[in-house]
Each structure stands twice: as structure tokens, then as C-alpha cells.
């Protein structure tokens, strides 16, 4: 039993972490959103503020909300937190600390005749998430304003599947008033969610690869984050087993800190020579730059 646990350590961790950070169980029964003091802190993953159990805030949601306020033009606190998480963890957050990432991981385990690691056109599609960030998280909340100059959280409102699944569904299930307010926008959001959930059975983490603005932000930090993967050039034979195992299809021996790497660690387990290991960025690693 323990062996099974160890093999799936990351999934177990993801479950425990998601349960802990969304531990306001009362919220699920009453259809209420927790509004205590801890909501003042952003959790690192895409964890909707409106999830009844959520004890912390979503950084992307918070970013849009501050940009939407009429008195503010930039979200310093949220930007700072994003940079902190990015600089320390990079996309480790994606692999270990994101509940919607967990959902996609689990869905990919469902058997399907032809599993894919990416969609055709991946070379261009992977940049879509940066556009989502620039347009839906930054630009639109800042520019499309109501009569007293307030914006709207465009990404949360029109795209985020994590919010639909963990926020809208539980709230609507528990609160009659919310159920009555659902309309065509909810229909659209549900369609987006269902599409991504179905796609996740076939393609590994399509939302993370192509759409997630938070992943976009952290991906920029991956090459320079404190937490990183190191390839020991003495042990590596470039056999390519790491890339074969890598569900994000990264040539690990060439680019261990690729922006798409979510730090799942499958490559580490797969390497027959133990050449890959997680490490903390130290000053002398600048000489290993050619390994990047």
C-alpha cells in the first residue's frame, strides 16, 4: 500500500493541498463564500475565490479585481506575490499546487485509444496563454469600464474553467438564489469547462498548455526560478527516455527548465542513470547555462 502511495506521491500531495486550502467545509453546505482574514492572501494556484471552501484568494482573480477598481491602475500586491511564487517555485505550482491541474491529471488517467501529449499546431498554440493573460487579465479589465469607471474580471467571467467547476457549481448546487440567477453566461462557461474536461482525457493538461494565464506568468520564471531541475552531464547519455516519459513532451536533457515544465518529476523517475535531480538555484550554476 505504501508503495502505491509513494508512486503517486504527487497526486496524493495535490489532493491534500487542495483539501487544505479549500477546507471551509461549511461553505459547501450553506452555499456561502468564506470571507475571513485569510482571504487577504493569494494561494499560488488557480483556486477560485468563490469556491465555497476556499480559504485564500486566486491571484489571477485578485489581479483583475484590483485592475477593475476605479481608484487603482495596477495591482502591486498581487504582482509582487506572483513574482514571489514565480521566482521561488516557477511552474512547480502548476504541478503540485493547483486544483484544476489535479483535475486534468486525473482525467488523463482515464483510458482512451489514442492519447496525445499535445494538439496539432502546439508550436503556436502554446503562446495563446500569454495572449489570454495580456487581453483578458490585464487589458480588458483596465479598458472596458462602466459609467463610474469600473472594469470587469474578463478572464473569470468568460473563460476560467476552474471557477466554473469549483465556484459556480457548488454555489449553484447549494444556494437557490444563485441558481435563479444563472443564464446564458453560465451556459457558455459550462460549455468551455466540459470541452476542456473532455479534451483532458485525450490531451495532457490542455488548459495549462494553451490557456492558463497563471501558467503563462509562472512559465516566464521557470528558467530562472529557485526550484529547478539539474541534468548531470557526466551521467546523461542523451538516451531520450526523459522526453518519452515527459507528458509535456520536453527534451529534458537539453532544457530541464523549459517554460512548459510543470515539475511533475516523471523524468527523474524515468532516467536510468539518475542524471536528473531537483535542486535549488545557486550562484555557480551560471556556468551550467549551456545545459539550459
Amino acid at each position: 500500500m505504501f508503495k502505491k502511495l509513494k508512486e503517486n506521491a504527487r497526486t496524493v500531495f495535490q489532493f491534500c493541498y487542495a483539501a487544505l486550502t479549500n477546507g471551509y467545509v461549511y461553505g459547501f453546505f450553506g452555499g456561502k463564500i468564506f470571507k475571513g482574514n485569510t482571504k487577504g492572501f493569494c494561494v499560488p494556484g488557480l483556486n477560485c475565490y468563490s469556491c465555497p471552501g476556499a480559504l485564500g484568494s486566486c491571484p489571477i482573480g485578485s489581479f483583475q479585481a484590483v485592475l477593475s477598481e476605479r481608484n487603482f491602475k495596477f495591482a502591486f500586491y498581487v504582482a509582487g506575490i506572483l513574482m514571489l511564487f514565480g521566482a521561488v517555485f516557477g511552474r512547480f505550482v502548476c504541478g503540485w499546487l493547483c486544483p484544476f491541474g489535479l483535475v486534468q491529471d486525473l482525467l488523463y488517467k482515464i483510458p482512451f485509444p489514442k492519447k496525445r501529449k499535445k494538439l496539432p499546431g502546439d508550436k503556436w498554440l502554446k503562446y495563446l496563454k500569454y495572449i489570454v493573460f495580456a487581453v483578458f487579465v490585464v487589458l480588458l479589465p483596465l479598458t472596458v469600464l462602466d459609467i463610474i469607471g469600473q472594469g470587469s474580471p474578463w478572464f473569470c467571467k468568460y473563460i476560467c474553467p476552474s471557477g466554473t467547476l469549483f465556484g459556480a457549481f457548488p454555489l449553484a448546487a447549494a444556494d437557490e438564489g444563485i441558481r435563479g440567477a444563472l443564464g446564458s453566461l453560465f451556459g457558455w462557461k459550462t460549455a468551455v469547462l466540459v470541452f476542456l474536461l473532455l479534451l483532458s482525457v485525450v490531451v495532457y493538461r490542455p488548459f495549462c498548455r494553451y490557456l492558463c494565464p497563471l501558467g503563462a506568468v509562472y512559465s516566464v520564471f521557470n528558467p530562472i526560478a529557485f526550484y529547478r531541475y539539474k541534468v548531470d552531464s557526466d551521467k546523461c547519455t542523451k538516451c531520450g527516455k526523459c522526453q518519452k516519459e515527459c507528458k509535456m513532451d520536453i527534451r529534458v536533457y537539453e532544457k530541464p527548465n523549459d517554460p512548459e515544465c510543470i515539475r511533475c518529476g516523471d523524468c527523474i523517475k524515468a532516467c536510468p542513470y539518475g542524471a536528473i535531480c531537483p535542486s535549488v538555484r545557486m550562484k555557480n550554476e551560471r556556468s551550467n547555462k549551456k545545459q539550459k
Binding site: 450553506g30 452555499g31 456561502k32 463564500i33 468564506f34 470571507k35 475571513g36 482574514n37 482571504k39 487577504g40 492572501f41 493569494c42 475565490y49 468563490s50 484568494s57 482573480g61 485578485s62 483583475q64 479585481a65 484590483v66 477593475s68 477598481e69 481608484n71 487603482f72 495591482a75 502591486f76 500586491y77 498581487v78 506575490i81 514571489l84 521561488v88 462602466d146 459609467i147 463610474i148 469600473q150 472594469g151 470587469s152 474580471p153 473569470c156 454555489l171 444556494d175 437557490e176 438564489g177 444563485i178 435563479g180 440567477a181 529557485f226 535542486s279 535549488v280 545557486m282
Partner: protein
């Protein structure tokens, strides 16, 4: 061993920077927002820095209802005192709780303005309740009251808008899931029908109000 030392070092560095970032009061620099992650969305309210006056809500109680509006007390935006006597003016009062921070609330105000004019002859009055006029310390914020006034002028929602007194405001807000929420009250201040969560357009309101009217006739 060296690996663990480096992990420990990073952790200690992080801890120090987090502790250094914490401070007691708000920042003196007005161009940067305060410490708390502040945001508003059309679902619920949350703690805000000093210059955004939003009523903080305590943890929700176990009740889903507000009780009734018989203990209702407040002031109009022009400062006239108001209490539950106001409900005697009509057979049915539509109490629309809205906030200046809430875009969907503002979007439906023009529709409610038209409804208020049209349904007057049917014995229905519309009252607006501005829900975000108090700051975290419970003080009335002039800026929000002025915002409310200019919004009302812009949207031509020229029915009576009320600033409830702080205690009533707290009771209402702590039981609301989202802005806007609209309650229906009879002339005695008792609830009629079900509260409506979310904004509606004119047709939606006509449908809803007609249904409530017929249910208690």
C-alpha cells in the same frame, strides 16, 4: 547535506522577506494599494483598503433569511430619516440592494428606474438600498455616497435610494450571497415571495414583479 542547507537558506530568506513586508498600518504612499488583496466582484464583498469604502461582512450565520424589514432604519441620500413606515406607501415594495462597486448592479438601475415609473399605478414602489457606504470601521463614507448620487443621476434611477443604518446594513449584508439582491416586501414590512439574486433587464423585472403581485393577491 549541502542541498538541504540551500533549501533551508531559501526558506529563511523567504520568511524574512515576508515578515519584513508585513506592517501594521496602511502604506503612506497613496499610489500603491494597501496590504490586503482587495477586490470586488458581483458575488460578495470583501475587506478593502481605507480609500475603498466597502462594508466588510462577518462570517455568514446559519440563517438564510434576513428576518424581516420591520426593524428597517436609515436615511435617504439627502439625509432624511426613513424607517419601516416607508413600506406603507405601497402594496408591494421592491427593495433592490446594490453597491457602487458592482457593475451589474449599475447596469440594471436604468431598467429599475423605468419599472419604478410604470408600476407606480399598480401600487408597487421601488427602493434602492446602497450597500457599500460604510468603511471597515463602520463610518459612513462621503465619497461613496457621492458616487451613488452621480450613478443615480447618470442612470436616471430616480426612485428613493436609502442608506441603511449600520446595524441593519450588517444584518442584510451578512445574509446576502451576492450583489445585487432584491427583496419583496409588503406594506407591513413582511417578506413576500423569494429574494432575487443577480441583475435583470426590464422584461425580466416585469415578469418577476408580475409573478410576485399575483402570488399575494
Amino acid at each position: 547535506m549541502k542541498k538541504y542547507v540551500s533549501y533551508l537558506l531559501v526558506f529563511v530568506l523567504l520568511l524574512c522577506s515576508c515578515l519584513a513586508a508585513c506592517s501594521n498600518g496602511g502604506d503612506a504612499d497613496t499610489s500603491a494599494p494597501g496590504q490586503a488583496a482587495d477586490f470586488s466582484e458581483d458575488a460578495g464583498t470583501t475587506a478593502a483598503p481605507e480609500n475603498i469604502p466597502v462594508q466588510t461582512t462577518k462570517d455568514p450565520t446559519g440563517q438564510s433569511g434576513v428576518g424581516d424589514f420591520q426593524s428597517f432604519k436609515g436615511q435617504t441620500l439627502d439625509g432624511e430619516t426613513v424607517d419601516s413606515e416607508i413600506f406603507k406607501n405601497a402594496k408591494l415594495t421592491v427593495v433592490n440592494v446594490w453597491g457602487t462597486f458592482c457593475s451589474p448592479c449599475i447596469e440594471e438601475l436604468p431598467h429599475l428606474g423605468e419599472i419604478a415609473a410604470e408600476y407606480k399605478k399598480k401600487g408597487v414602489q421601488v427602493i434602492g438600498l446602497v450597500g457599500d457606504v460604510y468603511d471597515q470601521d463602520g463610518k459612513l463614507t462621503e465619497a461613496t455616497v457621492n458616487d451613488a448620487k452621480s450613478i443615480i443621476k447618470e442612470t436616471k434611477a430616480d426612485y428613493t435610494h436609502i442608506v441603511p443604518d449600520i446595524d441593519f446594513c450588517r444584518v442584510v449584508l451578512s445574509n446576502m450571497t451576492a450583489f445585487p439582491t432584491t427583496y419583496f416586501v409588503d406594506s407591513e414590512g413582511n417578506f413576500v415571495g423569494k429574494a432575487v439574486v443577480g441583475a435583470k433587464d426590464k422584461d425580466g423585472w416585469e415578469e418577476t414583479i408580475d409573478a410576485v403581485l399575483s402570488s399575494f393577491e
